[in-house]
Amino acid sequence: MGPITSLPGFPAWLDLLIAFIIGIGFGFALEQAGFSSSRKLAGMFYGYDTTVIKVFFTAAIVALVGSQFLSYLGLLNLNLVFVNEYYVTASIVGGVIMGAGFIMGGFCPGTGVSALSIGKIDALFYVLGGLTGAFLFAETYPLIQPLANGAYRGPVKINEVLGLSPGLFTLLMIAAAVVMFWLAELAEKKFARPDITDKI
């Protein structure tokens, strides 16, 4: 039963090799989606290219649905899969800062590295900025520690907060995504900018 690396006696080097291979798949998928183009990514927020929301939600839902089916078939123990923990202020403040960074830089770290790998110089500067940002965080950590560690709620799951079963929540999320996809395609027609989309 998965997760495979939680089996007793699993060698650490194999764990890291798996990480590398998953990374290759990750980078490949991101680049194939066209995410190594900052103008395509930024297009989400100006309407002319909504690939971001389509890829994002499709990926999240495929993984969500797949993992639940695997759990049902007894192939994956979902209790052993990491659920990220909720720190109320840090999540929100961090998210806001990230949004600003996204619209300025036009990348997120994953897409930035993937763009760097195909030769985008602006991605190179983005990644350098990213390393600087990580360094700044490490150096200013003592100052913002209370913000970063405050309001800890633990690994809360959204379906528990809403009182729904995971399957029911997944269905609702799929329904919401279907609506969003439809709206996204409408937006692309309305805010179309062929001068940009033909070149990215």
Binding site: P8, N77, L78
Partner: protein, 202 residues
């Protein structure tokens, strides 16, 4: 039909199936097996019969004794203050109301086996505030019920131990020699107390 519509249809179908599947991760272990095993074998998860005797004598409310034997055996005699969850029914119950509290739960059975298994299950499901009484009732009998003082001098510590054992023995004998009706009422009153603790922050 374009890709979006195809994909949406497939996802909605899968979502409907998921919404109605009886998925529940409640009964799978929340801990990796080797970590769980070392946790359970650790000294820190055992209480000796002497420690339990002290909890009984001081009527310590931070501790809940759980008797894993059958209802029959429980009626005949049990440690004062213990509640009965027969081992066979452990998995059928909603353990949440018994175990997920600030109170420490101490399992005991006749020996070590059933209490050990119950501990693995309880801790594996995520209830970390669970322990066992080492040696079970057999050890309780040896240490508490049959304790005799022999020798000429006694240290303060031995004295305290002896006193606790004697008091516990008295409480045990008193409770278990009550007629059945009184025993039942005593147990019910303990049940009501327990439920009050639960109802608080619902």
């Amino acid at each position: 039909m374009n890709t979006r519509q195809n994909l949406s249809a497939i996802l909605v179908l899968l979502g409907i199936i998921l919404a109605f599947l009886p998925l529940s991760g409640k009964y799978s272990l929340r801990e990796k097996p080797d970590k769980l095993l070392s946790e359970v074998l650790d000294e820190k998860t055992c209480f000796t019969a002497d420690q339990v005797a002290r909890f009984v004598v001081t009527e310590d409310s931070t501790v809940q004794l759980i008797d894993l034997r059958s209802a029959e055996e429980f009626k005949r005699f049990s440690i004062p203050g213990a509640i009965n969850i027969p081992y066979n029914e452990l998995m059928a119950l909603d353990l949440e109301s018994y175990l997920n509290r600030d109170v420490r739960s101490i399992f005991y059975s006749n020996g070590d086996y059933q209490s050990g298994y119950a501990l693995i299950i309880a801790r594996g499901l995520g209830y970390k505030n669970c322990f066992v009484m080492k040696g079970g009732l057999n050890e309780w009998y040896n240490l508490v019920m049959n304790s005799r003082f022999s020798g000429e001098t006694i240290t303060a510590r031995e004295n305290a131990l002896f006193e606790t054992r004697t008091k516990a023995r008295r409480m045990f004998t008193e409770l278990n020699s009550m007629p059945d009706s009184l025993k039942a009422r005593y147990r019910e009153s303990k049940e009501i107390e327990r439920k009050k603790l639960d109802g608080g922050c619902e």
